[in-house]
Symmetry: C2
Subunit: 312 residues, 2 copies
């Protein structure tokens, strides 16, 4: 009877919705610019629900054929209660019981998690960390996120906020971070800090990440140096993670991971230099495999695995 | 039939052996200075076996009454194979299959783990982290060790070397550490580094930790400042651990944790300042409760819990 899963990736820029079968093959998809509907929480939720119903109708699928809906959101989530603590980049979502709201309107099972956790789950089941028991995921972008697979399962921590590699301090003292802390990894390797450094050191006003990585690839020493520092700072934080968690693999995804393979080499080099030999020798650093759909695949996996567990 | 457990704490200074009942009440104990027998691995193992047999004989206990033996060692252990990787402070123990060696000579079940893991297990079952699902233990001393309880169980990592909080970098660059890395927490808060700083700043040649903490307690500003820096550096590393693992409680033990409650206040203050509010607000920082016997209690728990699992 249950033949399909609905996945939603609620992003700061776009909200994407897919319909997959139980083997996670994508049957249909739709999306809309989040900002067009983000003036209030109510409007955004209505748009999501409207699009879900449209997706079902357009594909002649009945509600009873839906196993469940998984939604990933860009902020911390109380996984047990299905409640969003807050969304740093979308206003008005503090303490939103998104699971209950959606279940009431849709009448099928809803599961909510942080978007980086879902990307981590996807990479662990079908991507770069497939069949690995202990894996760490790191996503590079405006924010620097992380997720943990420990003993084969997503590790969420006591209030479901574990995995914040981007907010591990890499210096005793340093610049203030948006999170309230200081000298956090994100404060050194987040997109805007890299670009600010590039503007200053290259004396260019209009530089973007594509241009910067082109310059690095084609041998510009200053650009290359910016990337080397960037990768080395990531390596310092990851050396701490490697010594603490002794993972088999670290999966790195997000914009800057596409700047070139030398970044991965430099990250691994730094881990080898800074982490204890047993732990450093074991761990592999890999590029994320599933790209932009990772979060949607993870949302579908969340539904599928939750269902498997409740059937036991 | 099985009524007793033997626990061994193989330490750099003393090797201690206890006989407990299955409720972990200590029935008898013995010990010897490790250095008197550490000229070779063979001599040390023979002494351990001799003392175990003597303990059984003195208490009129038969081998068949022993549920098993747990041994904690000061270094990394391959828990699955029961093999010591190496002991940083006792020569000649590389790749010692200690479980097999002891089982062959003693004819009862043997379990081996790292001493900090066993202390962590003891604090999680009977001490400061009792009934907590996610707990982090930190031990302060010559070395700075750590152990993790995640989802209620000891988390050992892929090659069983997880938990090395002492070797998380707290600066992008900094002094070389014994582990091969640099700017590790231990390099700032290990006993000898604290004493070196105290000697320099207080201009005293013969200072020890007891004297230093007396001076801090009685209001000496320089001594107090040394401890404040010490606690704040621990707080920086723990802020990273709190953001990464979202634990309920952090248990701090070992020599310097006895310097005064202001150290715990300062550690928590630093975590509050540096970690994300949700994670920081939740976590408690507590003093270890079980003292020097923690490792022995943990060794007994390891035997007891392993037995419970194999009986399922």
């Amino acid at each position: 009877m249950h033949k399909y899963i609905i996945s939603i990736d609620l992003g700061g820029t776009n909200t994407r919705i897919t319909l997959t079968d139980l083997s996670l093959r994508i049957k249909a998809r739709t999306s809309f610019p989040t900002r067009n509907f983000s003036s209030s929480r109510k409007i955004l939720i209505s748009e999501i629900i409207k699009e879900v119903f449209r997706l079902l109708k357009d594909n002649s699928i009945k509600k009873t054929q839906i196993l469940g809906l998984g939604i990933g959101v860009p902020g911390p989530v109380d996984f047990l209660k299905g409640k969003i603590y807050y969304l740093p980049n979308i206003k008005g979502w503090q303490n939103t019981p998104i699971r209950d709201i959606l279940e009431k309107r849709l009448h099928f099972k809803v599961f909510v998690d942080n978007d980086v956790n879902l990307m981590t789950l996807a990479e662990a089941r079908l991507g770069a960390a497939k069949d690995r028991k202990n894996a760490v995921c790191l996503t590079l972008g405006t924010g620097v996120g992380g997720g943990l697979i420990l003993d084969g399962e997503l590790f969420r921590g006591t209030s479901f906020c574990a995995g914040e590699i981007g907010h591990m301090p890499i210096n005793i003292s340093g610049p203030r971070c948006n999170c309230g802390g200081s000298a956090c990894l994100e404060r050194y390797v987040g997109n805007k800090y890299i670009l600010a450094e590039a503007k200053k050191k290259l004396k260019m006003r209009n530089i973007n990440l594509e241009k910067l990585s082109e310059m690095a690839e084609s041998g510009n020493k200053i650009a290359r140096n910016i990337y080397n520092n960037f990768a080395s700072n990531i390596g310092v934080a990851l050396a701490g993670v490697v010594n603490l968690l002794n993972p088999e693999v670290i999966v790195v995804g997000g914009g800057l991971s596409f700047a070139g393979d030398f970044i991965f080499t430099k990250i691994k080099e730094t881990i080898n230099k800074r982490a204890i030999p047993i732990q450093a020798g074991l761990v592999k650093v890999k590029k994320a495999m599933l790209g932009k759909d990772a979060g949607l695949i993870g949302a579908a996996l969340l539904v599928k695995e939750s269902k498997l567990k409740t059937n036991v």
